[in-house]
Symmetry: C2
Subunit: 209 residues, 2 copies
DNA sequence: GAGTCTATCTTAATAGCAATCAGATTCTGA
DNA sequence: TCAGAATCTGATTGCTATTAAGATAGACTC
């Protein structure tokens, strides 16, 4: 972990990587909102203008951190997919994992879903997110019997619910107990969605309003 | 709608209200993130320091706008509750309304759920949010047969899903078609949750993971 | 109506931030 | 060895929030 130990060398060595590490550090301490380029350069003992040789602007650096975060997310979430479980159980496990990641790495999670990074402008974001979406889709498709429309419907519902639960969880103050509680809840809601006739077949008529 | 038409008067008249209006205007144009005190004072033809006679800081002004947004939200959402419908249908209608409000007043919705305003620091926020939560709770309690634990579980699930759907909807680009599509989806998922044995009774054993 | 008090507003200033530019330094490869 | 490219510094611009001290207007009293 390189610190302000440049020791008079003009060139840093790997400022790009050091900036990403320091950004993760600062975001961990102060949240995405509390991160600033200036603070990062201060910690690295480097001129405020130095980062701009490696990143076009603040957002570009945050995107690099976000890519890193997605990789971590994948690494924690996807192993659940390989287990010898039924697709339904795997899906529930992923919902759990989603909640756990958000709670365990809150600042990074906020960076991914709260700091409005423009996915259109930074294609590497979608690229980094893809493994997650694919693991998820595979799971859902297996459940939906390869009916793509049903699968998309179900996927959206499960994703939305997990994400929404996390939002509610993170809005209030939370401790370990409520984290596992929310994880349980996410799993339970996932099961409810999977079994529902409202999602798994041609939808019955809806009351309008 | 008072503009930069102060016309040399030293006192503005009602700068406090004008600031809130202008803030809504700017947030509508540029999003919460793009709002600045400086821009607001510029539009009102007033010194940059003038707002601080009425609001402690930027956040305090945003909180005032958020209170306004909650009132609008209530006004659009709660009428659904009075209709002569079953509790379940009312709940589905509220899920719809939730999605519609978010899509129709996106900047205000972002202000409520994206700009991390500290509810502990500004109790008026919870106060303004209360009518919504109460209408919602009443509905859910009726469905759960006054079993508070089940009701809380169900409420969380429905709220989370609606919120999550909105998040997904707002993340991608969206047009009128997808808005109603998302509203439909929210209603459908709500029905699925309400009918699920996983939520409406002592929960069956969960696979761990 | 004169005088006082207070709220409101102005001017002026500080400090933090992102971003740019010109130039210095170091690295790289021919 | 030397030219060019990459990296970094120092100085600067212009935006932001926020504060302090003083001017002005409205409200309230005598």
């Amino acid at each position: 972990m390189p610190r302000a130990d440049k020791g008079g060398r003009y060139h840093h060595g790997d400022l790009r990587a050091a900036l990403i590490d320091t950004a993760i550090e600062i975001i961990g301490e102060r949240g995405v909102h509390g991160f600033s380029m200036a603070e990062a350069t201060r910690r690295l003992g480097v001129a405020v203008s130095a980062p701009y040789a490696h990143f076009a602007d603040r957002d570009a650096l945050l995107v690099a951190v976000a890519v890193h975060a997605y990789q971590l997310f994948s690494a924690e979430l996807l192993p659940q997919t390989d287990a010898a479980l039924t697709p339904v159980d795997r899906l529930a496990a992923m919902a759990r994992g989603y909640v756990r990641f958000a709670a365990t790495h809150r600042p990074l999670f906020d960076l991914l879903y709260d700091a409005s990074l423009d996915k259109a402008k930074y294609p590497e974001l979608e690229e980094a997110e893809r493994p997650i979406n694919e693991g998820f889709s595979a799971c859902v498709l297996a459940i939906a019997g390869d009916d793509k429309e049903v699968a998309e419907d179900l996927a959206t519902a499960v994703e939305a619910t997990a994400h929404g639960l996390v939002t509610l969880l993170l809005d209030g103050e939370y401790d370990a107990k409520t984290v596992e509680g929310a994880a349980d809840r996410a799993a339970r809601v996932t099961l409810a969605l999977v079994e529902s006739r409202h999602l798994l077949s041609p939808p019955p008529p809806l009351p309008s309003g």
